[in-house]
């Protein structure tokens, strides 16, 4: 294969940064969540790329774990969003600042 592994790493960096921007900028809680998923995906991509580079299948294993954790996180997170929405009739995260010190 001619595509260097470095290219995949760069792609993953870009996606990660985009995800991070999403987390910071979007006010819709669901979108924030989706941005987090994007970040996780970028990390996964990097893991797979490094696994390829160093011929170590452990990277794939960790992708697997990350996916599992992401699934759990999504389940809980969405349940929380639903609960918050039921309570506040809004999923704008700027509405949720009861925890201010």
């Amino acid at each position: 294969m001619n595509v260097p592994v470095e290219a995949f790493v760069i792609l993953s960096m870009v996606l990660f940064t985009l995800g991070a921007m999403g987390v910071m900028l979007r006010k819709n809680a669901i979108l924030v969540f989706m941005s987090v998923e994007l970040m996780l995906n970028a990390a996964n991509l990097a893991l797979v790329a490094f696994a390829k580079q160093w011929n170590d299948i452990g990277g794939h294993t960790f992708v697997f774990f990350v996916m599992t954790v992401a699934a759990a996180e999504v389940a809980i997170g969405l349940a929380l969003i639903v609960a918050i929405f039921r309570h506040k009739q809004s999923i704008n995260i700027d509405d949720l600042h009861q925890m201010e010190g």
């Binding site: 987390v23 910071m24 900028l25 006010k27 995260i93 010190g101």
Partner: protein, 892 residues
């Protein structure tokens, strides 16, 4: 009959009463009176059956004792570091068997009697639980194979005695106090005695390294075992002081030993030389008196022949044949019986070791016992041990000076008085002495002390009994007196006589107590009857038979005392069964001919007479004289006060309405009375002396059956000659008894028994002094009060008022400690607690508040801001991590 397995039943003797008590303790309140009573009775009767089985086994095996190791209790107490290993073992031998029969037999009857006597009592099941527990501990005491197990039983019966004396502690007012005080008195006085037993046990363990009586396989009486197994008598090698029991069992001693034995015999004036000579057919210069020699020769010949031939001996026909059948035909060799199979004498029990030590030369280093730096001769140690034991015996068996608790113990219910304080528990001390007979054999000095204490107690208690009004108190002092007889007999070395008297006394004294209980019960009932009528039906008492038990509770507040003989009289016609059985008991106790007491008391007197005239040692002679003299007088007292009691209770006219309307007791109570009355007459025939007129060979009665049965457990029996019936002495005793009765009858006969609630002896000016002395119980209690109780109380009061309150509380605590604490507390409170500790804590709090006030601004609560800050941190951390990389890059 195969009876080998019967001794294995012995743990059941403990377990069955324990089970009965267990049921009654935990479920007694839910059970009906009848069920819980039947449980108790069943447990007692079952143990009696087992006792009979064990007895039948021993009777068929020449009483060969065995040691039973129950499966569940292989080791009991074990401390390896000091070599303490006390197994839980039972000893089954004739001594145990006799005690088993006495305890379970009399115990069973008293259980049955209690069913009637305690009817209606609200603590009925508890009473039976206590009785069962008492049986358990008493049986543990008599079946134990070491001093510690014996002591467990000893203390156990003590506790049960305490609980049962104070059984009616909840009676209202003074009576309840009287009951519980009596229980406490018994407990405290017995502690003094128990101290002696404990000391003796400690010394025994120190001296012997073990507490076991006999190890498994050990033969207690080697000579007897040799005789019955056709291994030759050991009369030759066993002279002085009954060392026949010596566990050495040397067989080669036949030749050299003879001359040696002679010298010893001469030096010590040993009488048994004659016996040995007679058996050998030689004439020895030292033989004493043709009478005894001839008798001995004949007796010995007849005796040993019968044993050895096993064919036509006068008493051993059936037994020997049966015994040998039981052995399964295996030949018995000498090594089986003479304890030579034990590698070392230290493997033997305490008695075997005693014989070994005493066979050593006096002054040899082995005979010395080290107590720290103090080295005592073995015999001295033994003397001290026996004296300590005697202290315990004085407590348990109510001897001078510790007898004072027993009369008070009559506060307990009458069956308890009969079972524990007459028939069984109080004889534990005598049993302990008989069990330790090997010890006693070697210390005639101690025996003299025992004999004196016993006979003085007998006389003193008999005297006090003359002046008592309380029907049970008379019997209590009578018990003390009779126990004195037994102890005196032990002091003479007449263990069989002591045990014989113990057994017969158990029967007839139980009978007397139960009879008195029946009388009291009747009088109470009669009183209640009268009382109920007097108050009319409106009082709430019905006329029904069920009501009488309320009398136990209701009449305490009235002046009427149902136990006072002055309130009785003429009961013979009201209570005929009680009367006749009581009369049997009285005759037995008084020693009228052919009643049980006659045989047993007479044997003690005969032994005393024998020791006095023919004792080997001066000490024995002395003991014999003292015992004989005192006991003859005491026997006279016995007959006198018993007849006085019969007169007061049963004869004459009723002195109160209660007595006039007293009914006969129920069958539960009268049947045991009848059974006991029957045995009070017959039990004496088990140990008829030889050459007794009329009875020798009469109706299959064998002479000294009891003695032969016990022979395997008491070594000295084999060595002493069996006494012939001493006709002059017996006549003398009978004459004394009859004349005492006659005298008593002349004083108390008819309606003269009580004159205006005063005793005729008190009315009579010449005897008033003496009677008052007896009535006041020789001021024993007062003396104890002056000498011990009062000073003790004063000391307590001093310690309590002055030392504890004034010094410790008022001064030390309140002034010194409190002031110190106060000043220190003030010091700590102001500068230290408030300043440093509070300051620190508050300072930390204030600091946190100050800082957090600044920081909390950051916590806006907006998630996106947090995300930005988080990412800022991430970038920062990344850059910091990458800094070295940059430096490398710059460097290269």
């Amino acid at each position: 009959m195969h009876t080998e397995t019967y001794p294995q039943l012995i743990p059941l003797v403990i377990l069955i009463p324990a089970l009965g008590a267990f049921i009654n303790i935990f479920w007694g309140s839910k059970l009906t009176e009848r069920v819980s009573g039947l449980i108790g009775i069943t447990a007692a009767v079952l143990t009696f059956i087992i006792s009979v089985l064990i007895f039948s086994h021993l009777n068929g095996h020449h009483g060969t004792g065995s040691v039973i190791n129950p499966v569940i209790f292989q080791t009991w107490l074990r401390i390896d570091s000091i070599g303490l290993d006390i197994p839980w073992q039972f000893r089954v031998d004739p001594l145990t068997a006799v005690m088993l029969l006495v305890v379970t037999g009399v115990g069973s009857l008293i259980h049955i009697y209690s069913m009637g006597y305690m009817h209606g009592d609200k603590k009925f099941s508890r009473f039976f639980a206590y009785l069962n527990l008492f049986m358990m501990f008493m049986l543990l005491l008599v079946t134990s194979n070491n001093f510690l197990m014996l002591f467990v039983g000893w203390e156990g019966v003590g506790v049960m005695s305490y609980l049962l004396i104070g059984f009616n502690w909840d009676k209202g007012g003074a009576l309840g106090w009287k009951n519980s005080n009596a229980a406490r008195k018994a407990m405290i006085v017995n502690r003094v005695g128990d101290f002696g037993v404990l000391m003796a046990i400690f010394m025994i363990f120190w001296t012997f390294g073990t507490l076991t009586f006999y190890q498994p396989g050990e033969t207690a009486n080697v000579c007897y075992a040799r005789e019955v197994n056709n291994l030759g008598a050991c009369a030759e090698e066993s002279h002085s002081e009954g060392e026949a029991a010596a566990a050495e069992g040397e067989t080669a001693a036949a030749e050299g030993d003879h001359s040696e034995g002679e010298t010893v015999a001469e030096a010590e004036g040993d009488h048994s030389e004659g016996e040995a000579a007679a058996a050998e057919g030689e004439t020895v210069a030292e033989a004493e008196g043709d009478h005894s020699e001839g008798e001995t020769a004949e007796g010995e010949g007849d005796h040993s022949e019968g044993e050895t031939a096993a064919a036509e001996g006068d008493h051993s026909e059936g037994e020997t044949a049966e015994g040998e059948g039981g052995h399964g035909g295996e030949p018995v060799v000498l090594a089986d019986v003479d304890n030579s199979k034990f590698a070392s004498y230290t493997d033997l029990g305490v008695f075997g070791q005693t014989a070994h030590y005493m066979s050593l030369e006096e002054g040899s280093p082995e005979r010395l016992v080290q107590f720290g730096t103090l080295a005592l001769d073995f015999k001295t140690v033994l003397f001290i041990i026996v004296l300590f034991l005697l202290l315990g015996v004085a407590g348990k068996s109510a001897q001078i000076p510790l007898f004072v608790w027993l009369p008070d113990a009559m506060a307990g219910p009458t069956p308890v008085s009969a079972l524990m304080h007459a028939a069984t528990m109080v004889t534990a001390g005598v049993f302990l002495l008989i069990r330790s007979n090997v010890f006693l054999d070697y210390v005639p000095e101690a025996r003299l002390v025992i004999a004196i204490i016993g006979s003085v107690t007998a006389l003193m208690a008999g005297f006090i009994a003359l002046g008592q009004w309380d029907i049970k108190r008379v019997l209590a002092f009578s018990t003390v007196s009779q126990l004195g007889f037994m102890v005196a007999a032990v002091g003479l070395g007449a263990y069989v006589a002591a045990l014989f008297h113990l057994a017969t006394h158990a029967v007839f004294k139980a009978l007397l107590f139960l009879g008195s209980g029946s009388v009291i019960h009747g009088v109470e009932h009669g009183h209640h009857h009268v009382h109920a009528h007097g108050n009319g039906p409106g009082h709430g008492h019905g006329n029904g038979p069920d009501d009488h038990h309320d009398a136990h509770d209701e009449h305490v507040d009235e002046a009427f005392d149902p136990q006072d003989m002055r309130n009785m009289g003429g009961l013979a016609s009201r209570m005929p069964i009680t009367y006749w059985t009581y009369l049997f008991g009285t005759f037995a106790l008084a020693g009228l001919p052919f009643f049980a007491g006659f045989w047993s008391k007479d044997e003690i007197l005969a032994d005393a007479f024998h020791e006095a005239l023919e004792g080997h040692l001066l000490l024995d002679n002395l003991a014999g004289y003292i015992v004989l003299g005192l006991l003859l007088v005491a026997a006279g007292f016995t007959a006198f006060y018993m007849w006085r009691q019969v007169q007061m209770v049963f004869h004459g006219d009723p002195r109160t309405e209660a007595a006039a309307s007293a009914p006969e007791s129920s069958a539960w109570m009268t049947i045991p009375l009848l059974v006991l009355a029957f045995f009070s007459f017959t039990v004496g025939f088990v140990n008829v002396p030889k050459y007794t007129p009329i009875f020798s060979g009469f109706m299959g009665i064998q002479d000294y059956e009891f003695k032969h049965f016990l022979e395997s457990a008491i070594p000295s029996v084999t060595l002493k000659e069996s006494l012939a019936f001493n006709t002059p002495l017996a006549l003398l005793a009978v004459v004394i008894a009859f004349s005492a009765i006659a005298l008593s009858h002349s004083i108390y006969g008819g309606n003269k028994a009580v004159q205006g609630r005063r005793d005729p002896l008190h009315v009579n000016r010449s005897t008033r002094q003496m009677w008052s002395l007896a009535n006041a119980r020789l001021y024993w209690d007062e003396i104890y009060f002056r000498l011990i109780e009062n000073p003790y109380n004063r000391l307590s009061k001093f310690l309590y008022e002055v030392v504890d309150w004034r010094f410790l509380h008022d001064y030390f605590h309140d002034s010194v400690l409190k002031a110190g604490y106060d000043s220190m507390g003030k010091l700590l409170a102001k500068p230290f607690d408030l300043g440093i500790i509070d300051g620190t804590v508050n300072g930390v709090g204030a600091l946190v508040r100050l800082l957090s006030g600044r920081v909390r601004v950051v916590q806006t609560g907006y998630v996106r801001v947090y995300a930005v800050i988080l990412l800022l941190g991430v970038v920062a951390v990344l850059l910091i991590m990458l800094l070295p990389l940059l430096q490398v890059q710059a460097g290269s």
